[in-house]
Amino acid sequence: MKTETILRLYRKFTHALPEEFRRRHGPEMTEAAEDLVRYTAKRRTPGALVAVVLRLFADLFWRIPIEHAAEFRQNAHYGARMLTKSPGFTLASVISLGIGIGLTVSTFSQLELMMRPVPQVEDAAALVSINERVSYPDYEYLRDGSGLFKSVAAYMPLVPLVVSKDGEARRFWGHIVSSNYFPVLGTKPLLGRAFLEEDFRADASPVVFMSHRMWENRFGRDPAVVGKAISINGHRAAIAGIGPEDFLGAAPLREAADLWIPTSTAAFMAPEAGRERLHDRKAAAFSIIGRLSDGIRTDEAEAKLDTILRKHDDAPQDPAEIIGRGLFIMPADRLFPVSDDELPILIGLPAGIVGLSLWIACSNVGTLLLARGGPRQKEIAIRLAMGASRSRIIRQLVTESLMLASLGGVVGWLFAVWSNSTMDWLKPMIPDFMHVELRLDWRAFVFAAAVTGISALLFGLAPALQAARRDVVPGLKSGEWFESKRFRWFSSRNLLVLQQVAGSLMLLLITGFVVLGFERTRSLDLGFDPANLHMASIDPVRNGYSVERAQEMLESLPDRMKRIPGIEEATLTHKVPLGLYSDDTAYTVKTSAYDTSMMLTLRIERVGIGFLDTVGVPMLRGRSFQRADESDDARVLIINETMATKTWPGEDPIGRQVEIEGAQHTVVGMTKDFRSGAVLEPPRPGAFLPMKAKDIARPSHQGVTLLVRAKPGVDAAAAIRNEMRAIDPALTVFNVSSLREEVAALMYVMRLATYVYGGIGLFGLILAVVGLGGVTAYSVTLRTREIGIRMALGAQRVDVLRLVLKEGFLLVVAGTVIGHASAWGAMRALGSFFEALTTVTKTSTSDPLLVIGAPVLLAALTMVACYLPARRATRIDPLVSLRQE
């Protein structure tokens, strides 16, 4: 290669050096290189020339990053000085960015948790379930005769099983499963085997499948237990296999299981799964999990499902006769049971709100940077005049924006860590045993950081781009550019502020509505007074009592309790009131009105005598239960108001007939609606049945619950425990709690949601105030001279104040109108959620507190933010401002 080519190449590569370095030392450097190369080429060997050229290029390439780093260090140093020089601006920007990023990260981390698939299940995405339970014959029909499912399994969830080991008995939850349960889920055992077809024969020896968790906690991960027999509900069953880690069944959050037993084993082992139950078409006790046949869509399957099951159940064929019974196919792939219909509410609302906050944060930083860009133009003009290159200025501003964004990122990450640890609103819904850890979602962080970083970069560059377009001289003279100072609606600045005010108001309205709704839910009428109500559950049958002995004990229990000083009332019930995942058993019942029969889904609670008095559910008509109602041949029920108005509108329900599980029951009373399950749910048809001997023989999975109303200040929990110990020390007492605590636990989610949404709304408010204040301050700086001239010509302070405030006021008014419109649109888009909220809480989207309160609050605060710089404007000294000329 010729020396000239080498030198040309060298000169070319010097362009990679920072511009200032190149301008200052470039020519000399290349001269030195030229001298060296030419000298060596002339006087030395070709080998020496090659060595020199290599060293020369190595030296250059080594130096390029070093010089860039040096420049960056200088920029950063200068930038840090600039940022600390205006601490208000820096603080506002960093907090805006930080909260924007932090909210995004923590929200998406929680959403990610909700979207996680069921652990240890194969191809979870294809799994579906049915929203209601079906009978075992219905399941068999679905499996063999419907053609809807490629594969389908049934399981009876939440069956309590008492496992005895070394003389100690403990309750565990189990599933009674059909033979293809494990194949449908695709779950492979860690040890041993899953169930075989032979295990389901009536004469098969009993087997059980155990969870990894139970194997670890109860058996110390001993691999030798596989094949050994354990005692379950007093019967021996061999452990067939151990499940993989974290596998707790098909719906691990609602129905976590530690033991799985085949229907054949369960037939004599678990009271709820007697052999006759497997043939009873009315006993809707089985959950369905399966995979739809190829080519069958969910809506098709749903439409067919109801017809198929109705035909099979000999139910009325005319769909018009069916009220309140709907069968839905639900995806069963996620850890949290979220249907696709609920996705927009559960994911859409938080995602939308967070997106809006992020957007406001970005435009806020934008306004702040633009506002700061004005005064900085003088500084930029000086640096340009001193010989700094425009690219250097741009790099300087980029460095500053990146520093801001990084600080914001750090604050955001810390914010997310903090909010995830303190406001983890999903935690109370996750049982302690679940290995579901909230992970900070780095993808959300990258996304939020990129969005905020890019907007900081763009807005941060604005002053440099403006400076690059114009002559430096006017900038040097007064620190401002000669531009039209008339109020222009469509200047970029005004548009920025406008959408910011509108966005903040939208955020405030939506979050305000949600907060108001949740707040009202908390004071919702439960239908009873939870004060001084206490509960405790026992399960005598599973504790080894005979049905007769259990019945005898339970019959006398309320009276024994009432004899304790301080206890006023006592009663029994079949299930725990107000449980978060309480098993709301729904029955499809037949009633007749106007000589036609109808079907509807009825939530039934089996209660002891005196339940309504103890809990304090007001009777509206008829009578409450009597001792005679507990006999086997008495068939009476008490219905709630909703049931009465749905079935016999405007008529007296007393004496009407309702067919439950094939038997006619007579309505003897009507109560006010009684809230027992989810809070965010409109009242549903419900009924009470008297608790009978057969209910005691086949208790619910929560056993039998004793409810007592005590005098204020009485330690009812201790009294109950003492009394129970006196009756039988071997009896396990569980679920000891007060109804107050249960209500608080139920409302915990609501309360947290109130705080979270309230916090986000407040954040939007702060952002709007900071943004508008910043822009007004900027506008005042720009108009200093104009204000000076006006004051020199005799304008009064109040005139100046009006001049400055007018602009802010117009922006706020316009922003309010746009914000209202968009909030209304957004609430319409999320209609179903807001509809549910409005029905339950009786909060209207046109609630005056929101429609008037929110904009007034926003306007008041933003006007204060405008007032501060406006007041500064009135202090402008005409002499000083005009001298700048």
Partner: protein, 96 residues
């Protein structure tokens, strides 16, 4: 005394008997930093036009740079002294 970049390069090469060669990018990077630290400054005095090259810049030590050199010489002297006394090396052997 004023010196230009290439001159410094040659000077160092001669003084170290060819052992140390300052390559251009490193040399000018160092000069830039020394200017920033105010150890050297650019000089307006230029040699006669027939010896000059328009591309060259000339540098000279500042007063502060002079002080730094002297302080550095003292420091190195002290260091050598300290090492020698510590190792108790006879002067004759060390210098020979």
């Amino acid at each position: 005394q004023e010196q230009h970049g290439y001159g410094i390069m040659q000077d160092v090469l001669e003084r170290t008997e060819g052992k140390v060669r300052l390559w251009p990018a490193t040399l000018y990077g160092t000069l830039k930093r020394m200017i920033e630290e105010e150890l050297i400054e650019e000089s307006d005095e230029r040699p006669a036009p027939e010896l000059d090259d328009a591309r060259r810049r000339y540098y000279r030590l500042t007063k502060f740079g002079q002080q730094v050199i002297e302080a550095e010489i003292d420091r190195l002297k002290d260091l050598v002294k300290a090492v020698q006394s510590k190792r108790r090396v006879p002067k004759r052997e060390a210098t020979s």
